[in-house]
Amino acid sequence: MALPLAFNVELFIQLLVSGITLGSLYALIALGYTMVYGILKLLNFAHGDVYMIGAFAGYGVLTLLGGPLSPNIAIAPLIVLMFLVAMIASGLLGVAIERFAYRPLREAPRIAPLISALGVSFFLQNSALLLFGAQFRSYNSFVLGSKNPEFFEPGPLTDALFVVKNVNVQLIQVIVLSTTVGLMVALTVLVAKTQIGKAMRATSYDREAAAMMGIDTDRVIATTFFIGSLLAGAAGVMFGLLFSQVFHFMGFLAGLKGFTAAVVGGIGSIPGAMLGGLLVGLAESFAGGYLGGRWSDLTVFGILILVLLVRPSGLLGTRAIQKV
């Protein structure tokens, strides 16, 4: 682990770009954690597996439409379709999980929904193992839309879109970043301006009082799960497009990192999740680039422990006032 003697601009930019892409992915996952925690004070361990199911839904669309090597339709609508199907499938899955595994436990001791969440996560992981098998499934995004896939000619997704200081920025990285930004803007507007957003804020502030004011809190919670899981589904497709490989266990590590991002930013805070995601992505990327690959995960977890010990409420979180 030799430190670079001369500052290498190319490497730095390379790591910056991949860090930002990775960070936007984690931010999307973190948003789901943070929204659910904000409204229910529940750690949704199954969130990472919803993300995994989203990735498989995108893969399913890809396979149904002819597979990555010879898709039946043009690549732009194909990708849009993959995102849409994965997002809706994940969103519905999230609503179902909430309905069947968490809602009956609203009034139960705190530990019950956590164990239930653990069970759901395990159930989903192994169901995916049963349905899709243990092997890695590939999006083959490298040759997706390429004219000569058999000669491994890069497709439009991974071809250099523009070059910064000899570093190629790929189309897919731009797509990931812009989709993330778009989704976040939409989410922020939804929470800040619309009626359902207002209801969500009210419910997370005080569920009982919100219910007394005539807000259908069950519906609000279901909507929250739908939106959070939808974002996770989008992140799943992004992961598939960026790294090509999806597998049944991918949700576990991504879930842990998304959670780290949520905590670092301050759990319960939406801008915090975005900031945390970016920080975690950059930390992972730079640690991987400068210290070596096996340190990247440990760095992320180290940051989590540090933040928890020094500032448990996170960077943008507000200190929770425990009501007696």
Binding site: L105, E107, I111, P113, L114, G119, F122, N126, I305, L308
Partner: protein
């Protein structure tokens, strides 16, 4: 307020006074189990368990004794340790399995060929147990500052970090990898009783049984002691406990240390019995298994842990890939019928569902065969006459991978739907649901029993939490109005 009661006495809250009555009113199987549990005094239970368990090696083969006897006892010990943390103190410790792993690896380092150390058990056991407990203490320190949920995640990360450390980091100490990487550590010494090595399965079994009995007796006294009661108070309401000047933080740390210590002890025994340790033995699935044991039996109940361990381990071994498929199959159908018997009453409703399912299967099978013979041409996985009957009843198409996946998803939807609707429609829907369960078993679970058992364990956790969070013998939480 209960109707027909005496006049309310001053200073006694009627609601609180009636708690016992409400708890007693449980009917059905769980109520029966609970009444038996309360009727038989703890010492009788212990002696009964000891006698039955001790006689096990006299009629059981060596392989069976290993799989059913020794493993059950190991799970009992693990469950007892977790029961302290989760059951008594109410802390969600998701890194518990790492303490088990730490104990096993530490014992392996002290008593194996790896570093040429061959410490006798009388020395290595206390060293391992104390250091695992200390590790628990260190990990428990964050729980002083962190909210309950954060504790869960910190411990989950700890468990994950342990596996990564053992597997990948594997630092070099004295010229060789400390943990042996993915290969683990082999040739571990057996446990010994002051120089007498326990090499046969029978000796090992009786040794573990003795340890289990000692731990059970110790925990019984512990749970009845001041500390035990303080833990339960802490579990029910930390704030109220603190107001009663119970030292909340110290008790949390103690629970962590006790649980970790028992896990470390189990690790010593486990490593010695297996004679090798690898990181796969201490990963997430084992954690889920231990949780299933503690929750099934009833959080906070010692008898519950023992029963949970027996039930879970026996079904676990039945579903092991190397076991004859027919055992797992019989267990599966038996559990389904048992569940129906327990949940459906009056009896004619039960008869209607069972008869309806059989008829439904026969009709479906005949129809499928009439449409295309290949729909029922799939091979039924080994098994005697029973499998033959099954093959005339369950649709198993000739290359059935896609069919199996569709059936699996349909089963999930059907089960969820059954929980949502009531009355006659539910009874009616149960018929295709049960049949679908049989189809899923025969088409996909039977080929991957190892995956099937994790799926069933995951579903078990969720179901238990939603239906009966206190488990079979646990005390229902008293809601403070």
């Amino acid at each position: 307020m209960e109707a027909g009661g005496d006049k309310p006495r001053v200073g006694v809250d009627e609601w609180v006074a009636n708690v016992e009555g409400r708890l007693e009113r449980r009917t059905g199987f769980a109520g029966l189990a609970r009444r038996i549990d309360e009727f038989v005094p703890p010492w009788t239970r212990l002696v009964l368990f000891a006698v039955i368990a001790a006689s096990l090696p006299l009629w059981m083969g060596r392989g069976d004794l290993f799989a059913y006897g020794i493993f059950t006892l190991v799970y009992v010990l693990l469950g007892l340790g977790l029961n302290i943390v989760v059951g008594y103190a109410g802390l969600l410790d998701l890194g518990y399995v790492a303490f088990f792993g730490f104990g096993a690896y530490f014992y392996a380092l002290l008593s194996s060929e790896h570093y040429g150390l061959h410490w006798p058990s009388a020395v290595s056991f206390p060293v391992v147990v104390v250091s695992t407990a200390l590790l628990g203490l260190v990990l428990g320190i964050p729980s002083r500052r962190l909210l309950g949920d954060y504790l869960a995640i910190v411990t989950l990360f700890f468990g994950q970090a342990f596996v990564v450390f053992v597997n990948a980091a594997n630092p070099t100490v004295r010229g060789k990898g400390l943990t042996g990487g993915p290969n683990g550590i082999a040739d571990i010494d057996p446990n010994d009783l002051f120089g007498y090595e326990l090499t046969t399965r029978r000796q090992q079994y009786w040794f573990i049984l003795a340890v289990v009995l000692l731990v059970l007796i110790g925990l019984h006294f512990l749970s009845e002691s001041r500390t035990g009661r303080a833990w339960r108070a802490l579990r029910e309401d930390p704030l109220a406990a603190e107001a009663m000047s119970i030292p909340v933080n110290r008790l949390k740390l103690m629970a962590f240390a006790f649980g970790a210590g028992i896990a470390g002890l189990t690790g010593c025994i486990f490593a010695a019995v297996l004679t090798a340790v690898t990181s796969g033995n201490f990963a997430l699935p084992i954690l889920i298994t231990i949780y299933a044991i503690v929750i099934l039996g009833g959080i906070g109940s010692l008898t519950g842990v023992v029963i949970g361990a027996i039930v879970i381990n026996v079904s676990f071994q039945f579903l092991a890939p190397e076991n004859p498929q027919n055992n797992a199959r019989i267990l599966f159908y038996a559990v389904i019928v048992l569940l129906l018997v327990l949940s459906l009453r009056p009896w004619w409703r039960l008869a209607a569902v069972l008869g309806g399912t059989i008829a439904f299967g026969l009709v479906a099978h005949t129809l499928a065969e009439a449409i295309s013979p290949s729909w029922t041409a799939g091979p039924v996985v080994e098994g005697g006459r029973f499998a033959h009957v099954i093959s005339d009843w369950v649709i198993i198409p000739a290359g059935h991978e896609r069919f199996a996946n569709v059936a699996y998803i349909a089963l999930i939807v059907a089960v969820l739907a059954v929980t949502r609707i009531h009355g006659w429609w539910r009874t009616l829907l149960l018929i295709p649901t049960v049949y679908l369960a049989a189809v899923v078993w025969e088409t996909s679970f039977v080929e991957q029993p190892a995956v099937a058992r994790w799926i069933l364990f995951g579903a078990l956790l969720v179901t238990l939490m939603t239906v009966r969070p206190q488990g079979l013998l646990g005390t229902p939480r008293v809601e403070i109005v």
